[in-house]
């Protein structure tokens, strides 16, 4: 009991003062904290050094921690991820940035065939404590090469962990947990949420995170454990499973159509918090799954199967999926593609009718 209190007090002490931050600032803070705490942490990626990254996530880190702690990489994702694997095998904890998730594919073989399997194939002789950060998702008029949500291509890999935060607090806490994980982790950062929450109404001005009530991020060290979901909105009528940008869209959609939905923010797709999902769906008896990625073989397919396996006798309506269409992300039809409040709301109404 006393030990627990002491531990909590110590944790609070390490976390320090909490202040409003946007998601870029909180990620920057997480990287800063880890560079300061662990000399084995280093950051590299395209444009992340002197310039501080195209989204500014590494701004100031090179100046503060030194050239060799945060530096630029050649435009070669295979080389970035491949060399990070070698560094991790040596004993470092490299954190690499892939500038857009859309650019990760040249490094995909290094992730699938190497990073994810090295612990297994060497029977624990070598491990890969590497973290890959990469902005994903649409809503910024990025066209097909700056808008994709490829998370399902990673959850399908045995040995990889896949994490997607939906707010500044989680982004930092999950990042630190990922860096400290002895397994390779890919973090997809919802770039549409970097500056402020996005509820799916593109014409509404963005409310900066700093002005969002309760958005406080500790300046120091803390973690959000990988594999623990968060109830983003409590509700009784229907469960919405979401992550990243879609958490905010889900909440706004439920409120718009007046359905008392419980929104589960998964936070981590692998490992997945099945207990929280199961408890929520059993409570509400209904389930809508939303993601921005294309539908076929998307992570929603896995979630739908799991809900069916775990909660079939509690379901009062068929499970619905609201997703991006099975097309590339079109530049001019962004908002027809994006699974916004209109489509999520319609799905909620359908499941409530059954």
């Amino acid at each position: 009991m006393n030990a627990q209190i002491e531990k909590t007090a110590a944790a609070a002490d390490e976390a320090g003062k909490s202040i409003p931050m946007n998601m870029i600032q909180s990620i920057n803070s997480g990287l800063d904290v880890m560079l300061g705490r662990d000399p084995n942490c280093l950051i590299f990626g395209e444009d992340v050094g002197y310039f501080g990254g195209v989204f500014r996530a590494t701004e100031g880190l090179q100046k503060k921690h030194g050239l060799n702690r945060c530096f630029d990489a050649p435009i070669n994702e295979c080389g970035i991820i491949g060399s990070a694997i070698g560094m991790a095998a040596y004993g470092l904890r490299p954190i690499v940035e892939i500038q857009f998730a859309d650019y990760i594919y040249p490094g995909y073989d290094q992730i699938v065939s190497e990073a994810a399997r090295i612990r297994y194939r060497s029977a624990g002789d070598f491990t890969v404590p590497m973290t890959i950060r990469t902005p994903y998702g649409g809503g910024i008029f990025g066209g097909q090469t700056h808008s994709q949500s490829p998370e399902a291509l990673f959850t399908h890999i045995a040995g990889m962990k896949t994490v997607i935060p939906s707010n500044p607090y989680d982004a930092k806490g999950l990042l630190i947990a990922a860096i400290e994980s002895d397994d390779p982790v890919v973090i997809f950062e919802p770039k549409r949420l970097y500056n402020g929450p996005f509820d799916g109404y593109p014409d509404k001005p963005v409310t900066p995170w700093q002005k969002v009530e309760g958005n406080l991020v500790p300046e120091g060290y803390y973690t959000v454990p990988l594999g623990k979901a968060r109830i983003a909105r409590e509700g009784a009528d229907c469960t919405i499973l979401a992550y990243g940008t879609m958490v905010h869209v889900a909440i706004a959609s439920a409120e718009a159509v007046g359905v008392d939905a419980e929104v589960v923010d998964l936070r981590s797709l692998a490992p997945l918090d099945i207990e929280t999902i199961e408890a929520s769906v059993k409570k509400t008896g209904r389930c809508v799954i939303v993601h921005e990625a294309t539908r076929t073989s998307g992570f929603g397919a896995e979630l739908s199967a799991l809900v069916q396996e775990h909660c079939f006798y509690h379901l009062e309506a068929p499970i619905e999926r609201v997703t991006g269409w099975d097309t590339p992300y079109p530049h001019a039809f962004e908002w027809e593609y994006f699974p916004g409040p209109k489509r999520v709301g319609a799905a909620l109404k359908r499941v409530m009718e059954d």
């Binding site: 280093l42 060799n68 990489a73 050649p74 070669n76 295979c78 080389g79 991820i81 491949g82 060399s83 990070a84 694997i85 070698g86 560094m87 991790a88 095998a89 040596y90 004993g91 470092l92 490299p94 040249p106 073989d109 290094q110 065939s113 190497e114 090295i118 612990r119 297994y120 194939r121 060497s122 029977a123 624990g124 002789d125 070598f126 491990t127 045995a158 040995g159 962990k161 994980s181 002895d182 397994d183 594999g227 692998a270 490992p271 997945l272 099945i274």
Partner: protein, 421 residues
């Protein structure tokens, strides 16, 4: 006065038909290989630059061929590493043991004791010499044809066989295809089986060592065929940009399964020459000359240890046997091609050198060979007692679900239960 130019549309129109070139090796089954036109510099001819020479001042080495052992078995020229007799004998023994081990495991596969095997016959010098230059603290990122690294480091043959048999004592717990060994304590990185992936990893490992101010270096191997992979380009770029303390070995054994070196672009230019464009020093070495490989590796290692960065070494050699037990080279190349290979056999050449020095004899050679075969046989008996792929002990099936992650998650626990264990 020159006439005015006609409209661009007209001048750019090509009146000839284009044709697609598909490279073909010079000799196919039924033909006799003829290497008489191959340009082979004499032993001792290639100069040895100082270790701190700028890459741009030694480009000709990428097109030459470092050779130490001449036809008469003498060691000559500036690259002679001047090894003592004990080291020479040790090198000979390491290559012969590798060959004896390969022969036994090849037969074991043919007897159905395992699924697959890959020999390194004819190119044993590449791994044996490197293992004797690098320390155990340095990290080797091998392909599946550098088993000689482990053997030279006295890694137990029984352990290697346990791996090949996926038996109850397999250090890899039955997870890896035969020959995909791993031994961190011996500086031997887990072999992938995917081609070329280890190269950028080796560069990253070397960067990490430099980042930490450590004194260790890395070495990686890749085949001529796999230099076509993007990973090769990635590794060369990173090695050059960050001046990583790594040795990039290209083992040009002429064949990638059935594709000849020309299919990786090796006809008109050497593989070593690829280093030139990256401003990396590049050495092209007679890969069947133990002394040349030793000397080149020493040069590159010293350069890396002096914080001068990476070196590319092309080992010019010949894959004397099939790609693997699943391959039949008689279907795509002349059967006598290996015998006609003008750079000979690495074991024979080092033997000849020792005999020429007056330190060795054919009798000693035969006696050592018999000893090594017996060593391998004894190890084989011990390993087979631990089980083979389809008989005897195998790793606990329970372990199949371990080491996917640091901690087993609920999915794996559930799936293990589903399997009933």
């Amino acid at each position: 006065m020159a006439s005015p130019r006609t409209a661009p549309d007209a001048t750019l129109k090509n009146s000839r038909s284009l044709s697609l070139r598909i490279p073909e090796p010079r000799f196919r089954p039924g033909e006799t290989a003829d290497f008489s036109s191959m340009e082979i510099p004499e032993a001792g001819e290639t100069p040895r630059p100082a270790v701190d020479t700028a890459a741009k001042d030694m480009r000709e080495l990428a097109y030459g061929l470092i050779r130490v052992l001449g036809k008469d078995g003498r060691a000559v020229g500036p690259w002679d590493p001047k090894l003592d007799v004990t080291t020479l004998k040790r090198g000979l023994r390491n290559m012969m043991l590798t060959r004896a081990y390969d022969d036994r495991m090849y037969r074991a596969q043919r007897q159905g004791k395992t699924s697959f095997y890959m020999k390194s016959t004819g190119e044993e010098a590449v791994a044996a010499a490197a293992a004797m230059v690098l320390t155990r603290e340095d990290m080797c990122f091998p392909t599946y044809r550098q088993q000689g690294l482990l053997i030279a480091r006295d890694y137990p043959l029984v352990e290697m066989m346990n791996q090949v048999y996926s038996n109850g004592k397999d250090p890899m717990k039955g997870r890896q295809l035969p020959v995909m060994y791993s031994s961190k304590k011996d500086g031997f990185f887990t072999i992938s089986g995917n081609l070329g992936t280890q190269l950028p990893q080796a560069v990253g490992w070397a960067m990490a060592s430099a980042y930490k101010g450590d004194d260790k270096i890395a070495a990686a191997w890749i085949g001529d065929g796999s230099t076509a992979e993007g990973d090769f380009h990635a590794a060369m770029t990173f090695a050059s940009v960050y001046r990583a303390p790594v040795i990039i070995n290209i083992v040009n054994n002429q064949w990638a399964i059935s594709s000849f070196h020309g299919m990786a672009g090796g006809e008109g230019a050497t593989f070593a020459a690829r280093g030139v464009g990256f401003n990396l020093p590049a050495l092209r070495v007679d890969g069947n000359d133990f002394l040349a490989v030793h000397a080149a590796t020493e040069w590159a290692a010293e350069r890396a240890r002096s914080n001068l960065g990476a070196t590319v070494i092309e080992h010019y050699t010949y894959r004397a046997e099939g790609h693997s037990t699943s391959d039949d080279p008689s279907r795509y190349r002349p059967t006598d091609e290996g015998k006609l290979w003008p750079l000979g056999d690495p074991v024979e050449r080092l033997k000849q050198h020792l005999i020429q020095l007056g330190e060795w004899s054919e009798e000693q050679q035969q006696s050592l060979h018999a000893d090594l075969v017996e060593q391998v046989r004894a190890a084989g008996r011990e390993a087979e007692a631990n089980g083979t792929l389809h008989a005897g002990d195998r790793p606990s099936v329970k372990t199949m679900f371990e080491d996917v992650y640091e901690d087993m998650d609920w999915r794996l626990i559930k799936q293990r239960q589903e399997l009933g264990i």
